[in-house]
């Protein structure tokens, strides 16, 4: 007797295709999580052989006390004003040598962006989250200025260019092209953030 009433067999020939489709989908969409953070260079332990004399007006001092209060250039300041103050200091351009700066050319503030140094001092008992927030604002000041110049020169944000440049998946040709641009913007506003040893009291 022939098997008339049995269910017909499901054609599984295309199963492999579906499987590969899924595989490729997951391969493309999953990314292994990467950490992110604020990059910083520590000063070398041996002091430089020749003493560099930095004029007081080229240093922007930021002090954080153990309660998380900010003392910026000897004045108490709110955290939300810090970025603006740092930006104004960086592009102050007192000696007029920086033709892309839009600062006020205040004689009592920094000469030009390459000479401007931000000095961050903190108490040992400062909370780490406060410390990071302040660092974030200061890096933000640099990024704001760099973004502005990058927009003017290349019509895109510096942060975006930099992350594309640092991304290993970016093709080499694009990276080489970006390298010079990123370097140029970085040289316009070099990040000079000094972290002195913390004070004990």
């Amino acid at each position: 007797m022939p098997r008339r009433k049995g269910a017909p067999e499901v054609n599984a020939g295309s199963m492999a295709d579906i499987a590969f489709l899924l595989l490729i989908f997951f391969l493309v969409t999953t990314t292994i999580e990467t950490d992110a953070g604020l990059d910083r260079m520590l000063p070398p332990i041996e002091p430089p052989e020749t003493d560099v004399i930095i004029r007081q007006k080229n240093i922007f001092t930021v002090n954080i006390n153990k309660n998380g209060q900010l003392l910026v250039e000897d004045e108490l300041m709110n955290l939300k004003d810090l970025r603006k103050a740092a930006t104004a200091f960086l592009e102050n351009n007192a000696d007029g040598s920086c033709n892309y700066c839009k600062g006020r050319k205040d004689a009592a503030s920094s000469d030009n962006p390459t000479k401007a140094i931000i000095s961050l001092k903190n108490d040992r008992e400062t909370k780490y989250s406060t410390y990071i927030t302040v660092q974030n604002e200061l890096v933000g000041a640099y990024n704001d200025l760099r973004n502005r110049e990058a927009q003017r020169l290349y019509n895109r944000d510096f942060t975006e260019m930099e992350s594309e440049y640092l991304n290993p998946e970016t093709p080499t040709a694009t990276r080489d092209d970006l390298k010079d641009k990123v370097k140029r913007i970085q040289d316009m506003f070099p990040q000079k953030l000094s972290e002195a040893e913390t004070s004990t009291n």
Binding site: M1, R3, K5, G6, A7, P8, E9, V10, A12, M15, A16, A19, F20, L22, L23, F26, L27, T30, I32, E33, T34, D35, A36, G37, L38, D39, R40, M41, L42, P43, P44, I45, L79, N122, D123, R124, E125, T126, K127, Y128, S129, Y131, I132, T133, Q135, N136, E137, V139, G140, N143, T159, E162, S163, L166, N167, P168, E195, E197, T198
Partner: protein, 155 residues
Amino acid sequence: MKSIRNYKKTQPAISTAALPDIVFILLFFFMTVTTIKSETLLVDNNLPQANQVKKLEKKDRVIEIYVGRPNQDLAKVLGSEPRIQLNNKIAHMNEVGPYVLQELAQKPDAIRNLVTVSLKVDKNVNVGVVSDIKEELRKVNLLKVNYTVFQGNSQ
């Protein structure tokens, strides 16, 4: 008679030809999403938030240092002072330098001067500990650090 009726009801076997494919799919999926080495955290590690971040792209160029209060199980033994965790164990401040150098020695020559130290510090820790670690890192001349944070708006 009975046997014939039984034969009629038998269902055809389900083809298992695609089973290997499914298994491979699962295998590949898990291969992709699992990170090879996930360290067991012995300290609280609630990172602060910041938004001006740079990504740490290459895992092989990173040395991680965790700082935080010992977690609940260990708090009875170690107390609540912030501790440093290096590679699955709690360490003392003066072990930081040797540990970092040892990790550095395991990296290939070509990337040795590109190595970044990722500081994963709990947000409730005082900066003093972090400064001490930075001092240790300066002593062994490893100057590239990254304050690892969660991406997001600070405050």
